[in-house]
């Protein structure tokens, strides 16, 4: 009996003992790779390609940070994480950065002791159903069976949406997007609900995407962004300004094609500060002066990443919408590099 308790306590303490030391930047440099938590497989956002190389919109954030810190966008160890284990993995120090279409909420930021560094995709929760069900609105879903990933904000929004509209539903809890896809296609649930971008990405992989509709209701705000552990502000700053750099680069017209040329010096002082030919922004972060040159040179700016992974030219075909630059009527707005 006593031994059982002891071993239990050991296991718990073992979990806790993994908690990270303060200077993540030093750890990443010493390891030579960035450990990045991503989705278990969501086409366009994070999925391995035919050669097993991870690619996608969230993966690009990992690669950008690796390029900024280590100068090599490929020096990333990817950990595919389910929704349930992602925060534990981050808190225990198993990963340095979580870029896993994770919604920024108050309790996750404050109570779960994460630090969200920004938003890389403004999303909202939607519903997808078979076209032949004839459903045109989410409010007609009374009594429907709904596939839902456990441990997500969508799970809570779903409960609230059905409760406030006074309709009932049967939740089918699932762990990963792939599992949801299999259950949904087998007809074990009528509706699949997750972030609208995820629905579009999932639908794009179906044999007949046209047989499925995404219902018009968007029932929540889902600002998705990368996050790091609470308590290491320096590391948080690096990730935050790498993301801001990607966004500002699009606004200022810095692309992977012209970044090397612009790095030599331009007559725009903000571009010069960003690319290191003026001022010491890189050194303030503890990075090389040409950190953003590495980032943009290897992954491109925000717009390039968007178009390459989830934009209208890809099978996923998402419009920029809210994720356009503020100058184009969207919400992307980077603080100035000054």
């Amino acid at each position: 009996m006593k031994k059982t308790v002891l071993f239990g306590a050991m296991a718990v303490a073992g979990l806790a003992a993994g908690a990270a030391s303060a200077a993540t930047l030093d750890d990443v440099r010493a390891a030579g790779t960035l450990r990045c938590g991503v989705s278990t497989g969501l086409p366009g956002f994070a999925a391995p390609d035919a050669n097993g190389v991870w690619e996608g919109f969230d993966v690009a954030v990992c690669r950008a940070v690796a390029a900024a810190v280590l100068g090599d966008a490929n020096a990333v160890d990817f950990s595919p994480l389910t929704t349930q284990v992602r925060f534990t993995a981050l808190a225990s120090g198993e990963i340095d950065l979580l870029a896993r279409n994770t919604t920024w909420t108050f309790s996750r930021d404050v109570d779960l002791k994460n630090e969200f560094v920004g938003v890389n995709y403004y999303d909202g929760q939607g519903f997808m159903a078979r076209r032949d069900l004839g459903v045109t609105s989410a409010k007609e879903l009374d009594g429907a069976t709904v596939c839902i990933q456990t441990g997500t904000t969508t799970e809570l929004n779903l409960a609230d949406f059905f409760r406030t509209n006074n309709i009932s539903y049967e939740p089918v809890p699932i762990e990963t997007n792939a599992e949801a896809q299999q259950q949904y296609l087998a007809g074990a649930c009528d509706v699949y609900t997750t972030d609208a971008s995820g629905l579009a990405a999932t639908r794009a992989t179906f044999e007949n995407p046209g047989d499925h509709v995404i219902l018009p209701e968007i029932i929540s705000k889902e600002p998705l962004g990368p996050l790091v552990r609470h308590g290491d502000q320096d590391w948080g700053d690096i990730v935050r300004w790498t993301l801001n750099g990607l966004i500002a680069a699009e606004e200022l017209g810095i692309t992977s094609a012209n970044v090397a040329e612009l790095a030599a010096g331009t007559n725009n002082p903000e571009i010069n500060r960003m690319l290191g030919s003026e001022g010491e922004l890189g050194a303030m972060l503890g990075l090389d002066a040409d950190w953003l040159v590495n980032v943009i040179g290897s992954v491109g700016n925000y717009g390039e990443i968007f178009e390459a992974n989830i934009g209208e030219s890809t099978p996923i075909g998402l419009a920029r919408g809210l994720n356009a630059q503020w100058t184009d009527g969207g919400l992307l707005y980077s603080p100035p590099f000054r």
């Binding site: 059982t4 002891l6 239990g8 306590a9 050991m10 718990v12 303490a13 979990l15 806790a16 003992a17 908690a19 929704t83 349930q84 925060f87 534990t88 808190a91 309790s107 996750r108 109570d111 779960l112 002791k113 069900l133 879903l141 009374d142 009594g143 429907a144 069976t145 456990t150 441990g151 799970e155 809570l156 779903l158 409960a159 609230d160 059905f162 409760r163 539903y169 049967e170 939740p171 089918v172 809890p173 699932i174 762990e175 259950q183 087998a186 007809g187 074990a188 649930c189 009528d190 552990r229 609470h230 308590g231």
Partner: protein
């Protein structure tokens, strides 16, 4: 001649702590104790330190916060506005439900297969061997997923039950097997049903009393009463009689297709069925071996002696072999029940909302209370296991060899 001098009384030396058997065990125990305490204090201080580094505290207050998520299988009242504690309770009941159903079915399967494996019929015994080896040598998780996949991929969707959909309900429109689970009729307890239940309980008591009386009478006089038929009669006749006298208080509510799903009746979800069957068949294979070993452990001489006394084979089995075999069977059987109960946490694979999924999964994820949640979860499984072994030990003590 020299007088044998008395051995000089030796003073206590420190080395005696190691070399003297009188002290050695004490020394070892004290050292082990100190090491244990040191390890424990290190564990605790390490935990506290790391919690501080993460800026977290240790607080069970989250259990009274609203959970915010829905659970599909609820044995007690629960909504998304209920507390995390309530969600944990729903999970606990779901765990106990599947563990109980699993233990019951595994025992039936195990005893059946264990006896048949000793059959003299070659085909029957080989078939049972194939079952045992097949189930016990493939990981349980694969069986759970396999059964779940078969259920959700190959069964018809609820809408296939509409006119012209090609699927139909079984047993006179009362049971629907769909890819979302099995819908069976639910009993509706009307007015007067409590009297009916009382009558049923009374007739069970009457059966037990009658059996005792019959056994006593047989011991005293040697007369054998037709115990079986009278028991069957007592079991059915009073209940059926009162069912009609009270004007059929219990009726059945049949599942009916409406909207997206079947409504009414009892919904046995795919996750429950997959977990239940896989746990039962997997553990049943182990129990079959335990039963077979138990029967083989009773020496053949016992059978021969019983036959020599003129006992028929089935009486030999029930009066001579099984009581002795049980003594060998019960202790390992307890372990199998414990295994099954703990293996039910594999529910995660099919989304069955057991306590690991509610308290140990969603609640931990939404509140960030990993340490508290895992401790509670561990404590629950510990208590449940201790309770099962306590109950089974009582049974074991009633069956074990009485030495007088």
């Amino acid at each position: 001649m020299t007088m044998p001098s008395e051995a000089p009384k030796e003073a206590f030396r420190l080395s005696q702590l190691i070399y003297d058997t009188r002290y050695r065990s004490m020394t070892i125990q004290i050292f082990a104790m100190v090491a244990l305490m040191l390890m424990l204090s290190w564990l605790i201080s390490n935990t506290i330190q790391n919690l501080q580094a993460l800026g977290k505290d240790f607080d069970f207050g989250f259990l009274s916060q609203p959970a915010g998520y829905d659970i599909n299988q609820r044995l007690v009242e629960y909504s998304s506005q209920s507390t995390h504690g309530r969600a944990a309770l729903v999970g606990i009941l779901n765990t106990i439900l599947v563990a109980f159903m699993g233990c019951a079915l595994a025992t039936v399967v195990g005893v059946f297969v264990g006896v048949l494996r000793l059959s003299k019929n070659w085909i029957v015994s080989r078939l049972m061997a194939v079952y045992v080896e097949g189930f016990r040598n493939v990981p349980l998780l694969l069986w759970i997923i396999a059964i779940f996949a078969v259920m959700s991929e190959s069964m018809p969707q609820p809408r296939a039950f509409r006119e012209g959909g090609g699927a139909s309900m079984l047993f006179g429109e009362s049971v629907a097997v769909t890819n979302r689970g099995v819908y069976i009729p639910a009993p509706v307890w009307g007015a007067g049903s409590s009297i009916l239940i009382a009558v049923f309980v009374l007739s069970i008591i009457a059966i037990i009393a009658f059996r005792r009386y019959a056994a006593k009478r047989q011991e005293a006089t040697g007369d054998i009463l037709p115990v079986f038929w009278i028991s069957v009669g007592l079991f059915f006749i009073p209940s059926v009689l009162f069912y009609f006298i009270l004007g059929r208080p219990v009726s059945l509510e049949y599942p009916e297709l409406g909207g997206f799903n079947f409504g009414g009746g009892i919904h046995l979800r795919n996750s429950l069925i997959a977990l239940w069957l896989a746990l039962s068949l997997y553990t049943g294979a182990f129990i079959a071996e335990i039963v077979r070993a138990g029967i083989l452990a009773v020496s053949k001489g016992q059978t021969e002696a019983a036959f020599a006394l003129g006992l028929r084979p089935n009486r030999t089995m029930s009066l001579i072999i099984l009581p002795q075999a049980l003594r060998v069977i019960i202790p390992p059987l307890i372990s199998q029940y414990l295994n099954l109960t703990k293996n039910s946490s594999l529910a995660i694979a099919v989304g069955y909302m057991d306590v690991r999924s509610t308290l140990g999964g969603i609640t931990i994820n939404q509140t960030g209370r990993e340490l508290e949640g895992m401790l509670l979860l561990g404590l629950f499984y510990l208590l449940l296991s201790l309770f099962i072994s306590w109950v089974m030990n009582i049974y074991n003590n009633s069956k074990k060899l009485k030495e007088r």
